[in-house]
Symmetry: C2
Amino acid sequence: TQNYRITLLPGDGIGPEIMAVAVDVLKVVGTKFDIEFAFQEALIGGAAIDATGEPLPTATLDTCRNSDAVLLAAIGGYKWDNLPSHQRPEAGLLGLRAGLGLFANLRPAQILPQLIDASTLKREVVEGVDIMVVRELTGGIYFGKPKGIFETETGEKRGVNTMVYSESEIERIGRVAFETARKRSGKLCSVDKANVLEVSQLWRDRITKLSAEYPDVELSHLYVDNAAMQLVRAPKQFDTIVTGNLFGDILSDAAAMLTGSIGMLPSASLGASGPGVYEPVHGSAPDIAGQDKANPLAQVLSAAMMLRYGLNQPQAADSIEKAVLQVLEQGDRTGDIMSPGMNLLGCQAMGKSLIQAL
Amino acid sequence: TQNYRITLLPGDGIGPEIMAVAVDVLKVVGTKFDIEFAFQEALIGGAAIDATGEPLPTATLDTCRNSDAVLLAAIGGYKWDNLPSHQRPEAGLLGLRAGLGLFANLRPAQILPQLIDASTLKREVVEGVDIMVVRELTGGIYFGKPKGIFETETGEKRGVNTMVYSESEIERIGRVAFETARKRSGKLCSVDKANVLEVSQLWRDRITKLSAEYPDVELSHLYVDNAAMQLVRAPKQFDTIVTGNLFGDILSDAAAMLTGSIGMLPSASLGASGPGVYEPVHGSAPDIAGQDKANPLAQVLSAAMMLRYGLNQPQAADSIEKAVLQVLEQGDRTGDIMSPGMNLLGCQAMGKSLIQAL
Ligand SMILES: CC(C)[C@H](C(=O)O)[C@@H](O)C(=O)O
Ligand SMILES: CC(C)[C@H](C(=O)O)[C@@H](O)C(=O)O
């Protein structure tokens, strides 16, 4: 028996509901593959603010550090939107990323044949789309200093943030991206704004130098504005994309939306060592929280990514991914991916169906 | 007779070809509406680098300053891509924007019924899309300091750019956006990343305060990642969008690509006073330069925007826009917007067809 300590961070909104499904699925998979999970729950985001006044209590970070992997659901909600920024749910997420050194964020955007009609793009444009965005996650303008709101001599306020990357930060994420591309189709597109930003010039320069070590990977470069266009125009041209924190935030969401079903998309955030964080791309959807309407599949697929990337249990990961495809094949759908003639299920019922498929 | 001095900046690639068409069209419109244009040509971008070593010679900026409006085609090309950044064509464009104080960039993205099939999005998703992106153009991370590539004590390089907005910069672009929204459907969406960036918090704060002066305009806010998603998911929800320089660069290109025909899209860059710059959204397309294949319609529509916003000649602008619709209605198409059963025309032939329509 393999034993793993998993920290669960259900967070806010629909978080607890979808997390419950993922935990049930993991338990069944554990029995099947002789894996024992020791789950420990901790607070983050709005839930943590309500209980402790802080979006990321020290106890939570400690629990995460002492585990083999962290499964996160979603954070945030209208309720906490007016707090000062360092006390908001998002600050908890950023603190978790920084605290665990999770510099590499892997965001797949894949069109599933069963859900292709959910895309707002024409079938022929998106059929077969399978993009992996490798986003730098602990640097860039999210963390650069100086930052803040300052007063000038004239008493006027100025808001300031700093986009900064060092060579080693670029190289580190670059390596993850080249390795990822190598395991996929061998095509890597690096996205920057090197025609305007010096930080992007350094980025492009380092990524280009690094490519000498990966002769089997075909490297190309795009400016971020053009990349946003190309994702809409011809998404099939992309395989692996590597980019900085802010551009990755924007482009991975655009790529995700090409699929039309962001309720299906997982992500992984990895560091050099220590536990990774696995979470759905979608948010906490406070408007449908507690109504058993949420789609748990992105959370379940995040658990699969955890098994694959964090715990080195590819067979267990495969079996979850197969179960997800099977329930879709059966016609099971939650509201967000519903289409005529399919079976509309709630969050819990979708979980039951998955367990049956397993 | 009204007299106007117009500076023409044909620039690089397809620039001269499409500019020639726009000038012919303006001459005909001038005769029709009793307007006399004194055209003066000046160098910018790669063409200026080749001739003078600089992407924006002082003479060019002076000529622009002494004119009533500036019509720009496109700049850049592979040839100049490896020059140091301050000597590249793009530096000329940024210098022009800064030099003329063009803080407001208006980028319409409108689906024309005749070209709706060019969109990669489904007809029902994009039918009727009519978005105006109001992008701040002389501030933000494009111009903020410090910027550059610096060495740390350990000898490692760090690339740095600074995203900065002052209250007055935000207010200034905010006013343009509220006024624009007021003349359109009265809906304004401000896009920022206020859940992470302090500069965005100040942005959101100022825009919100300003909205008190425009009670007839309905203001909403979106985070930039969500805005990129929503543009793909349901673009019809947007009317006027206001955002900073970098986010505007990305989102206006994404919005443009929703139409599927960026060869059709004009833009206007305006200052507090003095001449504005009118230019197509598309680039210099060096791959088809000199082959009489380029689509001149965005350039022609930029001339129409010049008449409308810069010279206060709305009737002349209308007549150009009508002519463009008419040639499309007739089935005239350049290669980029060609579809089965239409008449494929070169750049010059499209110009002739426009003049006939006028
Ligand atoms: C919630 C927010 C801070 C976060 C980000 O910007 O990174 C989110 O958009 C994401 O992409 O995970
Ligand atoms: C060429 C480049 C400097 C420019 C920009 O980033 O502003 C272009 O992309 C644009 O949008 O006009």
